[in-house]
């Protein structure tokens, strides 16, 4: 039988073809054609991914080598795809959620002109291509190509409306923040080549045992620096909330469901290295937890519907890193999956609201949208319940798995984690109540125009809502049913080596685990009831004061960065520009010019035009040559 995995190159190739057609033909193709091409390539990609996923599920996995990419001396880096449980799962998420968001975009972006519409879809397809390259890459270099590609597409799409200076600044901020992280990733790859002589996953992981812990800690910490950039963790998270400048489907696709989970994918892929470097693991866990709690506090006081969701994303990514840090790799990947469902749903729901409100994003001007937007309302509510972690919705299972593992590592992690989860429930329902409950607070014109979005937008919402509700059922914990955690079973080959190294016995007994679950669910419910009661009748309209003001201003982190990095950097650049450049470099360059001019003005006098003086000089020269000839040699 022909091995289906050999057709894996089709999956990333199709979006690339879509990108080329839409990008090059943006001036001739009609919107309908662009939509068909943009969505069509992804649908086929998704179909192939499902086929491959099925094949992997039946125990098929391999490294598909396409061609030699870099070959220098003993170092050989092939262009290879690693097809196994982890990458095939990500394939499904990327192409599946990606297709839904493409479909949604056809309606959301319909007001754009033909060329810009095609440009949007070209970027989106290029993004999917890069993301697929990232998760399929069979070594760190191919992964890095995808890693940079998604960064570029993120930049292009955040700055999609490039006539707005603020949006361009947001795009640049995202790109620069990502570059800082990418440098860490790149250094890690160099170090890896020096230590292992290879970057292929299989080879690196099998040799990892023989490398000193200090070196592994260094490599993994550098990789983690890369992850903090791409996945918006402290200290590089500030770009993600600003990235909301892009179109809402972009926020859903890139800044919630796929790109920002690249860091989690990378660490889950490198789980062996992290398991062997416990210090790095602790760093990952602590940074993840700190981000989760910090972003959750900021989200409480935000009034922009997309900003709340952005901080919520940062916070949920923090949970995933907590999961990775405490060794719950399956839990983290599980949370990536469920988060992709419900956060894409929430962003698309927010997009539907913004669409209906004619680009109004401030929740203080919304309210009472429940009747006008029934489908959006219902799906958004389901998303909120899912992210708040109420059983049996998907968020509950994945978050609980991470929190249970965190409790095993340290009860302190669990307490902080649950506090964060409670805040999550609170701010999500504050958002829900302010937007959909109560009375409408916008202008009469807006109220008159309120309408439910077209089918191309509601269908993805419904599909994602179903996934957000049911998605958790692939990972039912052992407490409820033995062997029902099919995701863990599916992913076990990826994390087998780490499991072997740790050999942890599950100390948490069942009654205790159920107790912890109940505690977190009850706390989340209390937060929900409180938030709905408080904000449905009289939402926060006035400016926040005291601590609330600090939160509304995001802990002044941007201002802090500006003060400790931005301003000194600017001062140094000004100094270099005014002093070093103008006096030093310019002085040197101009000095040479002036010197040459002066010298030539003097030399010019020799050329008097007097034939006699020329002859005199010639004779003198001859005499000098004769003297040299006679006496010197």
């Amino acid at each position: 039988m022909n091995n289906v995995l050999n057709y894996i190159w089709l999956v990333p190739l199709l979006p690339l073809v879509g990108f080329l057609i839409n990008g090059l033909g943006r001036n001739f193709l009609s919107k309908t054609l662009v939509s068909i091409i943009g969505c069509g390539v992804l649908l086929i990609s998704f179909a192939v991914s499902v086929y491959i996923f099925m094949s992997v599920k039946s125990g098929n996995h391999e490294v598909v080598k396409l061609f030699d990419f870099i070959s220098a001396g003993t170092l050989s880096i092939p262009f290879e795809f690693q097809v196994d449980a982890l990458s095939s799962l990500f394939l499904l998420i990327i192409t599946g959620v990606g297709f839904l968001i493409h479909l949604y975009s056809t309606a959301y972006m319909h007001e754009e002109s033909n060329a810009h519409f095609a440009r949007y879809f070209a970027y989106l397809n290029l993004f999917i291509f890069s993301m697929l390259l990232l998760v399929l890459g069979g070594n760190y270099v191919i992964m890095f190509i995808g890693w940079e590609g998604v960064g570029l597409c993120s930049y292009l799409l955040i700055g999609y409306w490039f006539k707005n200076t603020d949006y361009n600044n947001a795009a640049r901020k995202a790109f620069i923040m990502n570059r800082i992280g990418d440098l860490g990733f790149l250094l890690a790859v160099f170090w890896m080549i020096q230590q292992f002589g290879s970057t292929s996953f299989g080879e690196v992981f099998s040799k990892a045992n023989g490398i000193s812990v200090a070196v592994l800690t260094g490599i993994t910490l550098l990789l983690f620096v890369g992850a903090t950039g791409k996945s918006a963790q402290i200290p590089l998270y500030t770009w993600l909330p600003d990235a909301m400048a892009g179109p809402t489907p972009v926020s859903a696709l890139i800044h919630a469901a796929t790109m920002v989970t690249a860091g989690i994918y990378m660490i889950a892929r490198s789980n062996v290295l992290y398991t062997l470097a416990p210090v790095s693991q602790s760093v990952v866990a602590i940074v993840g937890l700190a981000t989760a709690i910090l972003a959750a506090t900021i989200a409480i006081k935000q009034n922009d519907i997309k900003k709340v969701l952005a901080y919520s994303t940062v916070s949920q990514l923090g949970y995933m890193f907590l999961g990775l840090g405490v060794g719950a790799y399956t839990g983290a990947v599980f949370h990536v999956m469920t988060h992709a469902f419900f956060k894409a749903l929430l962003f698309l729901g927010a997009g539907s609201v913004i669409h209906a409100m004619h680009h109004e994003q401030d929740i203080r001007n919304m309210g009472g949208l429940k009747k006008k937007l029934p489908v959006t309302h219902l799906t958004f509510l389901l998303g909120c319940i899912a992210i708040a972690g109420i059983p049996p919705f998907s968020g509950f299972f994945s978050k609980d798995e991470i929190l249970a593992a965190a409790y095993e590592a340290s009860p302190v992690y669990w307490i902080i984690g649950v506090a964060g989860a409670m805040m999550t429930a609170f701010y999500m329902f504050r958002l829900y109540a302010s937007t959909f409950l109560g009375t409408f607070r916008g202008t009469e014109k807006q109220e008159h125009h309120l309408h439910e979005s077209p089918a191309a937008m509601t269908i993805p919402l419904i599909v994602l809502a179903v996934l957000a509700v049911m998605g958790g059922l692939v990972g039912i914990p052992k407490v409820f049913a033995e062997n029902a955690h099919s995701l863990e079973h599916f992913l076990s080959p990826i994390f087998a080596q780490s499991e072997e190294l740790v050999k942890k016995e599950h100390a948490l007994d069942h009654t205790k685990e159920i107790g912890l679950m109940a505690a977190s669910v009850i706390l989340a419910l209390i937060a929900i009831v409180y938030a709905v009661n408080r904000f449905s009748k009289k939402p926060e309209l006035q400016e926040a004061e005291g601590l609330g003001k600090v939160l509304a201003n995001k802990w002044y982190v941007d201002e802090l960065y500006d003060a400790i990095i931005g301003k000194p950097l600017k001062a140094i650049s000004t100094f270099f520009n005014n002093v070093i450049e103008k006096s030093g470099i310019d002085g040197f360059v101009n000095g040479i010019g002036v010197g040459v001019q002066y010298a030539s003005r003097q030399l010019r006098l020799l050329q008097s035009g007097q034939v006699g003086s020329y002859i005199l000089l010639m004779v003198l020269g001859t005499i000098i040559l004769m003297i040299v000839q006679l006496f010197v040699s």
Binding site: G609, Q610, V611, G612, V619
Partner: protein, 115 residues
């Protein structure tokens, strides 16, 4: 070899002629005089060439009476004379043209090269 002048005298004479030529070229402004001085230098060199050639030929004759080694430089001098005669005709033509244009043969008028 008795009765023949030593080579030194030829050398000193040629050197003296050559120096007179050089000084003449450097100090005089009349183009024709300069031209004559150039001819003087040329003939100083010719004289030296003939003198050395003759000396060399006589040295070789003592070992080999049938040789004609060293005579070629004497022939060469004739060629130089022919070439210099041709050169003189060109040079004099230039001087005539110069006189027609400037009504002078003072070379200090020939400083237009610098413009």
């Amino acid at each position: 070899m008795e009765g023949l002048m030593p080579i030194n005298y030829y050398i000193f004479l040629a050197l003296a002629l050559f120096c007179i030529g050089v000084v003449g070229v450097l100090t005089r402004r009349n183009a024709i005089i300069i031209f004559m001085c150039i001819e003087l230098m040329l003939n100083a060199v010719n004289l030296l060439l003939v003198a050395f050639s003759k000396m060399h030929h006589l040295n070789v004759l003592q070992t080999n009476p049938a040789t004609n080694v060293g005579t070629d430089a004497q022939l060469f001098v004739f060629f130089i004379m022919v070439v210099s005669a041709a050169e003189v005709s060109v040079g004099l033509a230039i001087i005539v043209m110069m006189y027609r244009n400037t009504h002078s043969i003072d070379i200090n008028f020939l400083n237009r090269l610098k413009h």
